[in-house]
């Protein structure tokens, strides 16, 4: 029983590290572009 739980937590843990690492670059790139678009829209509307 313990082994199943350990495997469960290990998968989630290493998956989380990989996911956080991926998000930093992916969301970083995409959200950066969205900020540019957002400020452009706000400038247009003001």
């Amino acid at each position: 029983m313990n082994t199943a739980f350990i495997v469960f937590w290990a998968v989630l843990l290493f998956g989380s590290i990989a996911w956080y690492g991926f998000l930093v670059f992916y969301i970083g790139w995409k959200a950066g572009r969205e900020i540019r678009e957002l400020t452009r829209n706000l400038s247009k509307n003001s």
């Binding site: 313990n2 690492g21 969301i27 706000l42």
Partner: protein, 522 residues
């Protein structure tokens, strides 16, 4: 002091960049709508960055690490439940879909359309009360991390907290949600790098096999001592501290079924009701953007609990193998002290900057959210003559300042009745249970009326307030206080609505029309 000149340079660069970006956004604020919900221009990836940054504060890292220290990996089960709840809400659009479509700025505003102005005001009051009490311990726990991780003298804690809050206050009060979104983005990046680097270094330092063996040994030692009816066989003070099963959250020594079931209801309520999360839903371009933002952010919440829990569990094993926890440390301060040992020069600067990022993004998001609710739902309905746009902005900024002052003073004197997570969950419950009940009934039950709403709001707050005031004296379990508030709120809504006349068909019809079609302004 464990920080070097290089670490301080990294921290100073980060703080300057954040402040400059926050102040730069001020130029785009034209009115309260821009200030509170960024003119509803936020797209999905920026929403993910902002939601993730706001909901992962330094306080989160402290209490999740404490759960890891006390309960091992099982302490991260709440993150798994949170992930499931957010994904489920994002998949179905339960509550958040109609809420975004309604085009409101806050949840209580929706209640006015369905249940009348009194329900809006009362809901606003509970939202603010629960939210501010919840936020009250953020600064204290954040300050404790900085003291123990950087080695600055404990006497500086209040001044460090004040300076940090002053910085956040400056860009939040001037740029509102627009500044919060941009600084959240920077903080998301810095925080992500810091969390990944720290997790890898912690695993390398403690060793994965050693961590698992250490936790298993501590638990089997405790079990053996319990079986023998004595603590004599417990080898170290730290090993005696692992009173919960480190891997199985359903075990009676860990959370147990009752607590986890309450947490599932609680997390569904958080995902649909917690105003700081909902403000991102309301700032989204449309309901579909909000749902995608939820689905894509959901797995982030596993790491939100599990990675700091790893640091806490590693601190536990390290202290257990090195003579036990020093007398001046506790389960909550063990992790930052351990990190100050593990992290090398330069990396420590990045990690402290990341933790400052976590603290700042959470403080700014929360201050703005509660100020918006106070203005929108408590002050605005009482005004006979509406304020000018300039006056509205000035008042909302003044409220942000007032919340900052409250935070400083409350954070300094309040003593936690239990562990930090229980405090946060129960204070959040003051409004979560009742507002969740009102939202679900208001959106999906045509028979719900104003009397039921009033009864649900008041009854839902009874359990959590009893825990905060009497929890220590009468040993009230947090899950009892929390679960009872859901039951009482639902009971109040059902009985209150059924024993009084049904709502006028026009109120139900108007809300149905507003929540099922996209308003032109949105």
């Amino acid at each position: 002091m464990t920080l070097t000149a290089l670490d301080w340079i990294i921290i100073a660069l980060y703080l300057t960049g954040c402040l400059a970006a926050g102040l730069w956004m001020r130029r785009f604020v034209r009115g309260v709508e821009d200030f509170a919900i960024a003119g509803r221009e936020m797209d999905v990836n920026l929403g993910i960055a902002s939601l993730a940054a706001t909901e992962l504060g330094l306080v989160t890292i402290m209490y999740t690490a404490q759960l890891g220290y006390e309960k091992g990996f099982a302490g991260a089960m709440i993150g798994v439940i949170m992930c499931a709840a957010i994904w489920l809400v994002g998949r179905t659009g339960f509550v958040i879909g109609p809420l975004r479509t309604a085009g409101v700025m806050t949840i209580p505003q929706l209640f006015e359309r369905r249940f009348g102005s009194r329900a809006r005001w009362l809901a606003g009051l509970f939202v603010v009360l629960g939210g501010l009490l919840n936020m009250g311990i953020f600064l204290r726990l954040g300050g404790e991390f900085l003291v123990y991780a950087t080695g600055i003298p404990p006497g500086w804690l209040e001044w460090v907290m004040t300076a940090l809050l002053g910085l956040v206050l400056l860009y939040t009060a001037l740029g509102g949600m627009l500044s919060v979104l941009v600084t959240d983005f920077l903080q998301f990046i810095v925080m992500g790098i810091g969390i990944v680097v720290t997790s890898v270094l912690v695993i390398l330092h403690i060793g994965w096999g050693n961590l698992i063996d250490g936790l298993s040994l501590a638990w089997s030692t405790t079990e053996a001592a319990a079986a023998a009816g004595t603590a004599a066989t417990v080898t170290t003070e730290a090993a005696a501290g692992l009173k919960a099963h480190p891997y199985n959250p359903f075990h009676a020594s860990s959370f147990g079924w009752g607590y986890l079931l309450w947490q599932f209801a609680f997390q569904i309520a958080v995902a649909t009701t917690w105003q700081t999360q909902i403000s991102r839903v309301l700032a989204a371009r449309d309901a579909d953007t909000a749902k995608r933002m939820y689905r894509r952010t959901s797995f982030y919440f596993v790491g939100r609990f599990l990675l700091p829990a790893l640091w806490g569990a590693a601190a536990f094993v390290w202290f257990a193998q090195n003579g036990g926890l020093p007398a001046d440390l506790t389960s909550i301060t063990a992790m930052p002290h351990y990190l100050s040992i593990v992290l090398p020069m330069g990396v420590m600067g990045v990690v402290v900057a990341a933790m400052l990022a976590a603290e700042m993004s959470t403080d700014s998001g929360y201050m703005l959210t509660w100020a918006t609710v106070i203005y929108n739902d408590l002050v605005h309905p009482c005004l006979k003559k509406p304020l000018s746009p300039k006056g509205q902005l000035l008042l909302t900024r003044g409220l942000v300042l007032a919340i900052a002052v409250f935070l400083l003073f409350y954070g300094l004197w309040y003593e936690l009745p239990g562990n930090a997570w229980d405090y946060l969950a129960v204070t959040g419950n003051i409004y979560l249970a009742s507002v969740f009940t009102l939202l679900v009934a208001g959106l999906y039950w045509p028979r719900a009326n104003a009397t039921g709403a009033g009864a649900a709001l008041i009854l839902g707050a009874v359990g959590p307030i009893a825990f905060l005031v009497l929890g220590k004296s009468y040993n009230i379990a947090p899950e009892v206080a929390g679960a009872s508030s859901f039951g009482l709120a639902a009971l109040g809504m059902i009985v209150g609505s059924l024993v009084t006349p049904p709502p006028p068909p026009s109120a139900v019809a108007r809300q149905t029309a507003e929540t099922s079609t996209q308003p032109a302004a949105a």
